[in-house]
Symmetry: C2
Subunit: 282 residues, 2 copies
């Protein structure tokens, strides 16, 4: 389970058993969580949904909860809701099927988009790419004052226009603004075997989370079980020109995951290990 | 979730979300767990089943797992098994419907019985009473030697017979044995409102676990939500002539559960609080 905060909204990606317990231990304000995205229907990625839904109900949630996942999850979730709660949880659970075989927008609002990224695992599976939309440029207050530009023109200028002074002089847009904050993006890629072309779907991503179940000594296991090695994860990060790589989903065989980190850093320097309850800036 | 060890076997009662995680943190040998008993189908008592079943599969379990619960759970569990594993978890899950409205034996082997105990909650619900069967008395080696009794007679004597010496003298059974260990029993009663006659079902139980969601200041909530207060739990223990009372299932409103313990001890001195990962002798 990961919680991504973006432009003031919270999104959950995957929801393994105990997700609600971790959520309660954190200081995260549940009610800001509106959408959950599930990568695939293995237990460690979705068994926590029903408990989370249940707990939200007990805590008095009223806002609808939106769940995005492969269509097979829907009847199961509905059966559980009917059986355990007789649908009476006090708020609405809405389901949106995700086609895991396509890169497509699965969520969009005025400030960001979330896209599915097809992955290759033992069952239908996709990652998610969360991308901020560009914001408007910042008005240069000093220029506005200098040219005596009226407030009514500010929105025009932000939208890309220049300004014409009463004497006919044209002030170009670029002189009146500073550029907006650069947009950030986050890609979640778990679980998957190494995909040589994955980087094309996540070009220039600010932060990439890519599973690294094994080190390269277990390349055979990685291929067999459709997982990746740390070297492979780093290769994706390098090819994608990512800003940062977060590793995770380690096999229990590694009591010390430093071996995975070192392997990744040989290929992609800006790599980091993740573990439960970690917080990262994108 | 509780694990009861009795005569070398492990039984699980209830299986809330995260049960398998707790089980893995403990040193309990999973493979000795063969039977799970579910009291009722609220999430905190059964949402952990599918994760537990899944994990047992990953760990290579071969022995069947037996699940005892209200019949409504069966189709749900089967749907989950089909959907998530295509039934391929490597071992068999067998389901036994429990009639929560009757006191009846739901499990029996040569050394113990487990009975359902009807409880009163917001949905069909029962507790479980685990009772050791009496063992045979212990042979007094000194008497056997003194009277020169042959080995072939030992089983007869254990079974209740005396022994006749070659000269016709009858040695009574009681002189040849010491009594068997007293049998022990454990009753699990959660969740339930106060039942004035519950003690009749669990007379002389060695250890009673009885929920105590509230203290008596919240008697109204206890009645409304079909839960019990600590005083009520202690009343059941007193009336049942229980050896020991374990309290649990506290409302989150009590940051310090000592209030519940003190309330119980006023009625029934041998009361104890329980919390996660506690171990108690019965």
């Amino acid at each position: 389970m990961q919680i991504v905060e973006c432009r003031g909204k919270l999104f959950m990606i995957d929801c393994g058993e105990g997700a609600q317990i971790q959520l309660r231990r954190s200081s995260i304000a549940f009610e800001r969580l509106g959408h959950i995205f599930i990568s695939h229907l293995h237990g460690d990625h979705c068994f926590g949904l029903i408990g989370l839904i249940s707990t939200f109900g007990l805590l008095g949630r009223k806002a609808p909860l939106h769940i995005h996942a492969a269509k097979e999850l829907k009847p199961m979730l509905e059966a559980q809701l009917t059986m355990f709660f007789n649908y009476d949880i006090g708020y609405q659970v809405q389901f949106y099927p995700v086609d895991t075989t396509k890169k497509a927008i699965v969520y969009e609002d005025h400030s960001l988009t979330i896209e599915s990224i097809p992955l290759e695992h033992r069952m239908p599976c996709c990652g998610y790419l969360i991308s901020e939309k560009p914001t408007l440029p910042h008005i240069r207050r000093d220029m506005i004052d200098m040219y005596g530009i009226p407030i009514s023109q500010i929105n025009n200028i932000k939208a890309g226009h220049g300004y014409t002074l009463p004497d006919g002089t044209e002030i170009p847009h670029e002189r009146l603004v500073t550029p907006p904050h650069p947009t950030r993006s986050y890609a979640y890629c778990s679980d998957t075997r190494f995909m040589p072309n994955l980087h094309e779907s996540i070009k220039n991503v600010s932060t990439l989370y890519h599973e690294s179940t094994y080190a390269d000594d277990r390349l055979d296991s990685a291929e067999k079980y459709y997982h990746s090695t740390a070297r492979q994860a780093a290769t994706v990060a390098l090819n994608a020109n990512a800003g940062k790589l977060l590793l995770g989903h380690y096999s229990a065989r590694y009591s010390d995951e430093t071996i995975l980190l070192n392997e990744a850093r040989k290929i992609f320097k800006n790599s980091f290990l993740t573990s439960e309850m970690d917080v990262f800036d994108v």
